[in-house]
Symmetry: C2
Subunit: 481 residues, 2 copies
């Protein structure tokens, strides 16, 4: 579905000129997403969906390895159910899409399209959980959810998106806290190792926590324009939902008790992070572990050697596809140069060129997307070399992003310094905060930076940058997506 | 999440007493599904969802091997879009759920929750397809869909269900027909080989075809109560949607032409077929290829040998789990006998018992769910034996179902014979039909049997059983789910 236009790739706006337009250009040209004829909804095209599928595989494996099972709960949540938990409904009601008609009949009760499934799942858990022997319940769901957004942006903020949501119930408070932190670390491990995106881990403030939660933990990543992006959240729900949905169990001591719950999720939003952390002016860069094509083969076919090159390329392709996600681009209507640009733009980690001379010399030319390095590799060494280079690209991409995060994490002693750092560099800024919502709000009004997280063992002792209160905690501020 | 009730398994109504209640009992006791607090919607519980996940793996592999890519299209379809194809809207409008409110605002245009995605995808294809080089477009989607049903039944007919829907566009009429038949055969291959369910393949009548299609092909399976179930459909859409959504391409001859399209789908309905084809009075029977647990290990633990047996079982489990989907049930609060019943009810193909004597003799006891056969297997032969028995169970389950289908496929010479066969045996009944909608309707009124399909090379020559018209085609009638 390429448009056959030679200028195709050149239509990407440079990051330095207009980062936001660059993002939209990359998404459009790389055919990740298209706009749907419904306000705020996106079509995830095959190339974008293939990245999501690889991400799902890596995360689903980790979710199962930590003892969770998948299930599926209904899309619809009756209004009365959604309204049971007061904070929850207040947080979500403004962005709920409502079904009011089924077939020809008006419904007697409106149905919410799930914005998240705590209410539905709470209702079911109250039926399923009776005894301490039934605990823990460790369930995850892969699903679509809807939050009616006023201003949208592909992957980052759309009215419908795809995600996974884990929902667990535990016997003890400690059990729930342990689960919350365990899943936060599963997210960190997945995002850092599969997506090559370094993250900070920590606690959200009261203001930023999930509606209805006791505590929300998060991982935060830094995009290449200096803005932060929340990449995953893990909530300790305490007993809020258990009390409201009456989820109780008979404990070993014969007492009936409320369960302790958690929920945690990541979404297609992560695809936005992948684009903005790794992309450059030539387009996408996809880490090998989640790339739909890890390798693209471009045969160089002068007319008199066309058959030979086609045949040899096909042979090599058949060999490589056993162990790698490889694509052979032997279209005759496009030039090699056009294909080089096209696949660089689509972020394929490795390009293999194979022409008549390479065949003669029993070699191929390997070109890395991340640093442009060109390596001549003997055919009999190719398999090992590909494994080595793919691993090295994965590491290099992570390290470069990690270095960027470190270089763009600064410390501010006072409000003026915070303002000027944010204005000049954006990035993550560490500064002390007393814990009050007023100070949090004040900093936001002054700088448009929010508290992204409170680190696990924050530095303490300095004064709050807003009110000057002593012995405050060092937290991380940033402007965020 | 068992309820610890010793009488648990005995609560299944025998098939002979009330087949319909048996079905509901199995679904409930095996924890496949629970009723949601929304009319006609189901919760697919982890055990049911795990079967669906295995089914998805097997089918998704086949869909990709035949050159298709996955993508994701929006849940919402604007009313105006759905209304573009007249037959299509007429077919689906009565069962559409409508979103009329987003957040606090009334929408200016109602949004349908997708009952199927031809309209949305047609709209996108008209943007994506320009040239013959863009064809074929071969896209599949795994998604939830909603059809507002008046009377529902878990898996078989629910207001929301999960499915895959393939949507392809081709340059020629032949290309579309070839795709339609190819995917029909992919379904047959998947359902027969992975789910061990034999099917008939053929063409739907005009009355039974998909709303908006040129032709609908289907696979039909026979449940153990003698009723047929449509297990998958593949539609040749012709150019109907292309004309309405203006999906054209510039052909090699420089003429602008409409594409030829197909769509095809199977759904969680197949889980209903799995239950009704293989289940018996003891509960579920799941074919090894899609079973969440292919093997369950039940250690026999007399008090004085408990440690030894636990340790040996764990060792064996760690070994087996590398190659099989195996579950170790070493709960101490349940007796071995209770566990035997429980796992038989849940349809696990193989049970391994391991007690102190077995450890002494370096053996385990292998019990087959399908025929109750008990085999003593030496530990060093176990791995091979398990592979052999799992393959044999898969085959035996298919063969038994195939035999049932053959035994319950009868021929009727006239209307009386058709009526009495349907009344007495149900099953599939072959009879001649002239092709008229009136005769089709007449047979249905008389017998409640519908034409399930017209075989690919039907016998011809006899008179229509309804009107007596000569040289009619032999088609397959049945009462159906
Ligand atoms: Zn303060
Ligand atoms: Zn007739």
């Amino acid at each position: 579905m390429s448009n056959g236009n030679e200028n195709f790739v050149r239509e990407i706006t440079p990051q330095s000129q207009d980062y936001s337009q660059w993002y939209l250009d990359v998404i459009k040209k790389a055919e990740l997403v298209d706009y749907a004829p419904v306000k705020g909804c996106m079509v995830i095209r095959p190339y974008g969906y293939a990245i999501w599928e690889n991400m799902k595989l890596g995360l689903d494996r980790r979710i199962k390895e930590t003892g969770h099972e998948n299930a599926y709960f209904p899309l619809f949540i009756p209004e009365s159910l959604l309204q049971k938990e007061a904070d929850h409904v207040e947080g979500f009601a403004p962005e709920v899409a409502w079904v009011t008609k089924g077939g020809q009949e008006e419904l007697s009760e409106k149905l919410a399209i799930r914005p998240t499934s705590e209410a539905m799942i709470g209702e079911m858990y109250s039926k399923w959980i009776q005894s301490w022997r039934d605990l823990p319940v460790l369930i995850n769901q892969w699903a679509n959810v809807v939050r009616w957004e006023k201003s949208t942006r592909p992957f980052l903020r759309t009215s419908e998106f795809l995600w996974q949501e884990g929902h667990t119930a535990h016997r003890t408070e400690e059990g729930a806290e342990e689960e919350t932190l365990k899943m936060l670390d599963v997210y960190r491990d997945f995002v850092e190792n599969d997506m090559a995106i370094p993250v900070l881990k920590g606690l959200k403030t009261e203001k930023e926590k999930f509606a209805g939660a006791l505590r929300t933990y998060c991982i935060e990543a830094l995009m290449s324009d200096g803005r932060a992006l929340q990449a995953g959240t893990s909530h300790n729900l305490g007993q809020h939902f258990a009390e409201v949905f009456d989820i109780t169990f008979l404990d070993q001591d014969d007492e009936r008790k409320y369960v302790w719950q958690t929920s945690w999720g990541v979404s297609t939003r992560l695809l936005g992070a992948l684009i903005m952390v790794h992309g450059d002016d030539r387009g996408l860069q996809i880490p090998p572990k989640v790339a739909p094509n890890q390798i693209v083969m471009v045969p160089i076919m002068p007319k008199n050697k066309q058959e030979l090159v086609k045949e040899e390329s096909q042979k090599l392709y058949d060999e490589l596809k056993k162990d790698f996600r490889v694509k052979l681009d032997d279209r005759e209507e496009q030039t090699p140069g056009w294909k080089f640009n096209e696949w660089e733009m689509r972020g394929v980690p490795i390009r293999l060129e194979i022409g008549p001379k390479d065949i003669e010399k029993e070699q191929v030319v390997l070109v890395r997307r991340d640093n442009g390095e060109k390596i001549f590799v003997k055919r009999d060494k190719l398999h090992d070399k590909l494994e080595e280079v793919l691993a090295d690209i994965q590491d290099s991409m992570y390290n470069r992003a990690k270095e960027y995060l470190e270089d763009n994490t600064r410390v501010a002693k006072d409000m003026d310094e915070l303002s000027s750092i944010i204005e000049e560099h954006k990035g993550m800024v560490k500064a002390h905060w007393c814990g009050s919502g007023n100070c949090e709000e004040h900093v936001k009004d002054e700088t448009k930076a929010t508290i992204r997280l409170i680190p696990f063992n924050p530095n303490t002792g300095e004064d709050c940058i807003s009110c000057g209160k002593g012995d405050s905690k060092e937290v991380v501020f940033a402007r965020a997506y």
